[in-house]
């Protein structure tokens, strides 16, 4: 928490396009409307353009509650339907511990330590058993 306390951000979360991957960087404290807006923006962008994957960097996020957790899970499920993959990158230890304690282990979510690791992961062909850096739980 180097940058002190987060300030609320207003408007849209910028979505960056890197080749066939969309990169979203979440920072600070996201309010509900913005999270919903992002979810909508992403599915529209994916549907419009051929995108192979989405990386959501949450290393700047100090808290994920059940609402934001659900939004992340829904984004992942949506992109899956649109034949793309979502990787959530850079979750902080305190955030991960809290989510687990809260009871939200988000089993279907792909995760990576960093944005680079996430991009690497998306570059790999989809072979579930040999996906490095990512755990996907079988139901």
């Amino acid at each position: 928490m180097s940058e002190g306390f987060s300030r609320p951000v207003a408007g849209h979360v910028p979505v960056l396009r890197l080749g066939d991957v969309l990169l979203v960087t979440l920072q600070g404290d996201l309010h509900d409307t913005m999270a919903h807006q992002l979810q909508q923006d992403l599915s529209e962008t994916i549907a419009r353009s051929r995108v192979r994957g989405v990386v959501i960097d949450i290393s700047g996020v100090e808290m994920v509650d059940s609402f934001l957790g659900r939004v992340l899970a829904e984004i992942a499920a949506q992109t899956e339907l649109l034949a793309a993959r979502t990787v959530v990158a850079g979750m902080r230890p305190a955030v991960a511990i809290t989510l687990v304690e809260l009871g939200l282990t988000l089993p279907g979510l792909r995760t990576a330590l960093t944005t680079e690791a996430a991009l690497e992961l998306l570059a790999q062909p989809i072979v579930p058993s040999r996906a490095g850096g990512v755990r996907e739980e079988s139901p």
């Binding site: 100090e62 059940s66 305190a94």
Partner: protein
């Protein structure tokens, strides 16, 4: 019970923007009282869950924060109150997976696991009050789940 500076507050919960203020206040108050990073995050997350309950189910309300001490240990107490319809079946509301709108059904039961003390008062028609307290640098409360 003693009062501490910068902790005491009454914050309205009327919109999702207010949730942001609630989280930031709790974060600052917890940091000021000396909570560690993980405990701060737990408390902020619990506050976010409870404030959202107040907003979504209680039709809006209020969060009160206060500094409490017991035997020299500092704590942060948060009280969320609304005058909404109340919770008809508390046991069910506290069980995981129960939800009556939005979220993953982790609201009350999940928030309870993130704090040391948890109390809820509610009756149909007379609103809901949830009071949570966490203490600085105390080992996690004993596990109560089966």
């Amino acid at each position: 019970m003693h009062t501490g500076a910068g902790v005491e507050a009454r914050l309205p919960i009327r919109s999702d923007m207010d949730l942001v203020w609630v989280r930031q206040h709790v974060r600052q108050a917890a940091a000021g009282l000396g909570f560690g990073l993980v405990d701060q995050t737990k408390l902020v997350t619990a506050a976010s869950e409870l404030a959202r309950n107040t907003l979504v189910h209680g039709g809006g309300g209020l969060m009160e924060a206060s500094h409490v001490t017991t035997g020299g240990t500092d704590g942060l107490r948060l009280t969320f109150s609304d005058t909404g319809p109340g919770i008809p079946d508390l046991d069910r509301a506290l069980s995981d997976g129960y939800t009556s709108g939005g979220g993953l059904g982790m609201g009350l039961g999940g928030a309870r696991r993130l704090v040391h003390d948890f109390a809820v008062e509610s009756a149909p028609g007379s609103g809901t009050t949830v009071r949570v307290t966490s203490w600085v640098s105390r080992p996690p409360r004993p596990r109560e789940d089966a």
